[in-house]
Symmetry: C2
Subunit: 425 residues, 2 copies
């Protein structure tokens, strides 16, 4: 069964994934020269850097997602298809999806990254990941439900299974989550749950290396550590997870950390698509591409963004897996495909940043290192700027101003869509 | 196991349900005279009149819900508990929940109404109800997913199962949904799905009586019928459902209406709590109360809102099941309980209204009947006014202005929270 797409007398570019890379590429490809087909399993683009605020009930999913059809309403020869990609055949130039197969002239893989459990199925079963909107909502509901359970638990019972949270991984996601949880503990819990003693809530951040935010400079790491500790986060450096048991984590050095919820932010790996030769994979599970984003060993197949690993002298392990690299590759690839450049891709590093909490962040731009309020203000501006959609920017801004002024999030609702009729909602 | 509530030397009022009645009562009871316990299965108050806009992707759930704990942060001696109520024992003065039992001095039942399937399990299995946020989100996701399926369906296939929608019940919910669907068909589908012919989408509204909005005056019914038909809704009056089969409805007169989705807005009945004697139930499934909202045959048990049926000479079948009646009863009951009134409850009818579409509504206030733009403007103002929370009002207003100006909703996202780890999200 073929996927229903009109035939047009233009080369057909099929893009798999509507993240920063795929979305930007579909926007940049001129509709006069290409038929563009953008395929994603969801009908929206997701702004991943703010997942953690969805999990913390600070933002609604709709504020950081943007409907794909809306974006391409006015773009001719661009077709959005919601489908699950199952693989491709580079010989036949065909992509297979659960909605049917589709022929391509040029295939661009932009499926990004997925959570890396390092082949530990026991860990995968025991932790909460944070690599999608659905997972963020799940975490939000779990936190809120556990607080309600703690309130009604019999007096003198052990509340650690409900209240204690551990985050594994001290990268930006782990740091931002830990900071946001610390603020929830300090500002929200005492007001909303006066019956609960918020000192009984513990937030642990577990990092294998000797510093947080290892991709940034040591000064930024130190500042982050100081800030998080001052906010009450229990940071455990040089600590690795041995195993996760019911309501506790066993570290490799024998220590035990008690927590009912374990959030896994310890690593990512490429979200691979079947059809890429094993020999083209990097040690980190990404797809090796040359300087032109071409997948090693294949014809007319490109990979961009977190999925792609372009090993250069400057970045021997590939570019950082962040939005700017994906967007730059997308814009470069659009130029290259319409033959307006024949120079290889070059990444312009715009720096790094992470927010820690209210008035607290660290940023590094072009040799300039900032911390505290100025860094925090820059973080806010950059994120508002890169968000898709005027309405989204407005709503996010209102929510941020609101919670800044009133130390409050308004979205502490435990909502689940009803199950299909047979499941009785 | 007892539900964990501190013991205070004050009479304990236990309120079941945080809808318009229960929520208002908990706000109105003075914390100096009572210990108030508000129990709901959700941790938020829901603004039911706007469910249909959530289903139509015009508003987010969070814009029309309000966290209960937030509302009662500053109210002493008021305790929110999220629990599923299982029944009560009027002899022992105990309420049973899935989180434990709780003693009461005064019990107020305010559980509202639930969808009435008139004991037809086959219908319950085949239709989509609209009496909760979860059900509204389910409907939204179904509509959006079916549009995506229609786009990828093989050419010349039958799209009726994906595109045709029938609503059973021509009350306010049915009318508002039909109008909103007609606007989606006209303004959104052609822009978002240029590949689809929107003439192939049919919206049916099925009503058993000879007019829509039977609780309003015949002129309002006529105007509503004219407006809906001009918007392309296929209204079937004097039509009753015999049975619902796959992708079609069989009417009692033998006619067949094709539709892949059937929304059931044909009636409500009391959401009963176990412990009320059978003899205290009204024919409509509500609980009979006297002029003082006291449940017939029980001591210190009150019922208010949609659940309660107070049969008076003016309202022989009980008050209309609408927010104003519930809120007035709640305020009256608060006065009565603190002994500041001993006069029986009297309902002040503030009128009725229903919105049909852009610049189209019907309202009836104190003998004054309005239609068209003025009615629509009043509808908007009243709903903004009764919404709980400044932030919610602001966000709803922005969304309404936005969609009014741009003929657009921004929330067309198919999002489901991840399932728990064992279920693999």
């Amino acid at each position: 069964m073929p996927l229903n797409i009109p035939d047009i007398q233009l080369p057909r570019v099929v893009i798999v994934g509507a993240g920063f890379g795929g979305f930007q590429l579909a926007r940049s490809l001129p509709s006069s020269s290409f038929q563009t087909v953008l395929i994603d399993r969801y009908n929206f683009h997701q702004f991943q850097p703010l997942y953690y605020q969805v999990a913390m009930a600070g933002l609604e999913p709709s504020s950081i997602c943007f409907p794909l059809r809306r974006s391409f309403q006015k773009k001719k020869n661009t077709f959005v298809r919601v489908a699950e990609v199952e693989g491709f055949d580079p010989g036949e130039k065909k992509l297979f999806t659960d909605q049917g197969a589709i022929r391509y002239d040029i295939l661009v893989l932009a499926t990004g990254a997925r959570t890396n459990y390092f082949n530990r199925q026991d860990i995968e079963q025991a932790v909460i990941p944070m690599k999608s909107i659905s997972e963020s909502l799940y975490l939000r509901n779990r936190i809120l439900e556990d607080l309600e359970k703690a309130v009604v638990a019999p007096r003198d019972s052990d509340l650690s299974p409900y209240l204690d949270i551990a985050i594994v991984g001290g990268g930006p996601t782990g740091v931002e989550l830990a900071g946001a949880l610390a603020e929830m503990k300090k500002h929200i819990v005492p007001k909303d749950y006066p019956d609960l003693d918020n000192d009984r809530m513990h937030i642990h951040l577990i990092e294998g290396r000797d510093r947080l935010l290892a991709a940034m400079r040591p000064e930024s790491s130190d500042r982050t550590l100081t800030d998080l500790r001052s906010m009450g986060v229990e940071v455990h450096l040089n600590s690795r997870v041995h195993s996760i048991e019911t309501n506790q984590i066993l570290l490799t050095d024998g220590r035990i950390i008690r927590a009912g919820k374990v959030i896994w932010a310890a690593g990512i790996t490429g979200a691979l698509v079947k059809g890429v030769p094993e020999t083209s994979l990097s040690p980190g599970g990404r797809i090796r591409v040359d300087d032109y984003c071409r997948v090693q060993g294949l014809q007319q197949v490109f990979a961009i963004g977190d999925l792609a690993c372009m090993e250069t002298s400057e970045y021997p392990k590939g570019h950082p897996q962040m939005a700017p690299a994906a967007m730059q590759q997308a814009r470069w690839l659009a130029s290259y495909l319409r033959s307006s450049t024949d120079r290889p891709f070059r990444f312009t590093d715009k720096g790094q940043m992470a927010t820690i909490g209210r008035n607290k962040a660290v940023t590094e731009f072009a040799g300039l290192r900032l911390a505290g309020f100025p860094a925090w203000a820059i973080w806010l501006l950059v994120h508002i700027y890169y968000l898709i959609g005027v309405r989204n920017r407005l709503i996010v801004l209102i929510n941020w101003i609101w919670s800044y002024l009133f130390y409050d999030q308004n979205l502490r609702l435990i909502i689940r869509p009803r199950l299909p009729p047979s499941g009785k909602g």
